[in-house]
């Protein structure tokens, strides 16, 4: 999979609830192969707002229109400057980066679990699974109803279940307490979200002997495996989130 550096055209930048937004980008060249779970390193050309690039997951790809989307939450100055991009502006990316989710065998009962901006990579993953004939359950957790993102897109690729911490929508509690986890059993779980959530899901999977992959969010200096800043402590020693990950099987992690 060849990586490239490219300035892509912003063809849409849609604010969602609260601090979230979805940027759609168009390439003037044919899009490279991109897999679910991969990410980009983004920076506004010439911008001094941040020094380093910012890693963002590939949210969804449309190879027909030659575009793809990023789902981003404003948490600091980098993401804030991205949120202000207008149609026609450009965003410079190094992409596609990282490994990808390991796709389950046909007929595998599959669960996707996401929280906050961690739901970003799950849409492209769900779409891919669906194209392989797997309709996953998708369990999304949010703080409260005001923080629920528009999940219609997710409903098109799987069966969506919701939790909110305060019960203002879906079931009350954390994703791990959702009744689904009591009832159903899965061959494969994919999870992306706050570390606490991923650890809880990892725990549940261990207990239930379920294969589980998580997508980690570490601080990144380069995104291409040279700065060695993004390490995660695994059973094989320090591995790079940007090249050995961001997707790790929980068997590899010391959680």
């Amino acid at each position: 999979m060849t990586k490239r550096i490219e300035s892509l055209k912003v063809i849409d930048n849609k604010p969602l609830k609260k601090d979230f937004f979805i940027i759609e980008l168009e390439s003037s060249r044919k899009l490279p192969e991109m897999k679910p779970g991969q990410f980009v390193q983004a920076r506004i050309d010439g911008s001094q707002e941040t020094f380093l690039r910012r890693p963002l997951s590939i949210h969804d790809v449309d190879f027909v229109r030659n575009t793809f989307r990023l789902l981003v939450q404003v948490v600091g100055k980098g993401t804030e400057s991205f949120s202000k991009l207008n149609k026609g502006d450009s965003l410079n990316l190094i992409y596609p980066l990282g490994n990808s989710f390991t796709l389950p065998t046909k007929g595998a009962r599959t669960l996707l679990v996401g929280g906050g901006c961690g739901i970003a990579p799950l849409l492209y993953l769900g779409r891919y699974l669906k194209s392989q004939g797997i309709i996953p359950d998708i369990l999304l957790g949010f703080r409260n109803r005001d923080r629920i993102l528009e999940y219609n897109d997710y409903e098109a690729v799987g069966n969506v279940f919701l939790t909110t911490e305060d019960g203002s929508a879906g079931e009350k509690g954390f994703v791990t307490s959702h009744s689904l986890l009591g009832k159903a059993s899965y061959d494969k779980v994919f999870c992306c979200g706050p570390e606490m959530m991923m650890k809880a899901i990892a725990g549940w999977c261990r207990k239930n002997n379920t294969d589980c992959e998580v997508s980690l969010e570490n601080l990144m200096g380069c995104g291409i495996g040279v700065c060695l800043c993004c390490v995660v402590d695994t059973v094989k020693g320090h591995l790079c989130t940007c090249t050995d990950g961001p997707v790790f099987n929980i068997k590899e992690l010391k959680w």
Partner: protein, 305 residues
């Protein structure tokens, strides 16, 4: 065509743009972005005798126009390097330099002896300036006595060109440059990172697992440039300027101040093509200014009033 080459003793470099250690992996990570063989040289990741895991996460923090790192020389050790990495490196048509690091003088000597046997490595960069390891590294580089000892010991065995990489965390950089020259270094590269720190006010914790770390990027350029200028005026061996070089104007500042070559570090994180863009920019500058050889502007800084 302008001439861009320079040499360290009889070792020729086709141009003065070298990738800095710890920021360019082993070159292959950049194959998708540029033709590594176009560069004057690459210095590969800091290498030690034994494999090292480096420091715990978090190892990085962004700062104003810079970054702190606390990687701590994570690498797979010289055996792994020799067996698995070196053969690939030989394919690049450029000078591949190994940055060597140790916890004691014997380590450095042993590494130099190992590199002696690697025909396609024409030079070593002796790193006595890594701020991110408890033993060795900067401890050598900020003490004139131990700096002299380690350089002397390595020089005794080293049959390759010896580049000594200096730490900026000292009162007199010129003192360490003199020591390097006296002990037979073929070249001096500087600066390594400045020792810095950052705090996360939300969690009230240090941003790095090691509390302090190494500052790199444009923030340190003025300090780096000052030190390169001081050193270039003090020694007679080629000086390689490093620190915050993001574009060709930055590189030219160092060359005017007396650097025979420069290394591109953190810039490669932001733009993996930074090194070749800098190379092209230097060439264009020379053409625009009417110079036909880069050596015509090396140390050419006009300090008259």
């Amino acid at each position: 065509m302008v001439k861009l080459g320079f040499s360290i003793g009889d070792l020729q470099f086709k141009n003065p743009v070298i990738a800095a250690s710890g920021t360019f992996g082993y070159g292959s990570e950049f194959d998708d972005f540029l033709d590594v063989s176009r560069l004057g040289g690459i210095v590969v990741k800091g290498t030690t005798l034994e494999p090292r895991e480096g420091n715990p996460y978090p190892r990085m923090a962004e700062t104003a126009s810079g970054m702190l790192n606390a990687v701590g020389l994570q690498n797979k050790g010289i055996d792994y390097f020799e067996k698995n990495i070196y053969p690939r490196l030989s394919e690049y048509n450029t000078n591949v330099i190994v940055n060597i690091n140790g916890s004691c003088i014997d380590d450095y000597v042993a590494l130099a002896e190992r590199i002696n046997k690697l025909d396609d490595i024409p030079a070593i960069e002796l790193n006595i300036s890594c701020p991110n390891v408890k033993m060795g590294g900067m401890v050598f580089g900020i003490n004139p006595v131990s700096a002299r000892e380690v350089i002397k010991a390595v020089r005794r065995v080293c049959i390759k060109k010896l580049i000594v990489k200096l730490s900026p965390n000292v009162t007199s950089i010129v003192e360490f440059a003199h020591i390097s020259e006296e002990e037979g270094a073929d070249s001096i590269s500087l600066i390594n990172t400045l020792l810095g720190m950052s705090v996360d006010v939300r969690s009230m914790k240090p941003s790095l697992s090691t509390i302090t770390g190494g500052l790199s990027g444009p923030a340190i350029k003025p300090v780096a440039l000052r030190m390169v200028w001081q050193v270039a005026n003090a020694v007679n061996i080629p000086v390689i300027g490093i620190g915050g070089i993001m574009n060709s104007d930055d590189a030219i500042e160092f060359i005017l101040a007396g650097a025979s070559a420069i290394q591109v570090g953190t810039a490669s994180f932001i733009d993996p093509q930074a090194s070749v863009k800098i190379l092209e920019g230097i060439e264009n500058y020379l053409i625009a200014k009417g110079f036909s050889d880069i050596r015509d502007i090396t140390g050419f800084l006009n300090c008259s009033k």
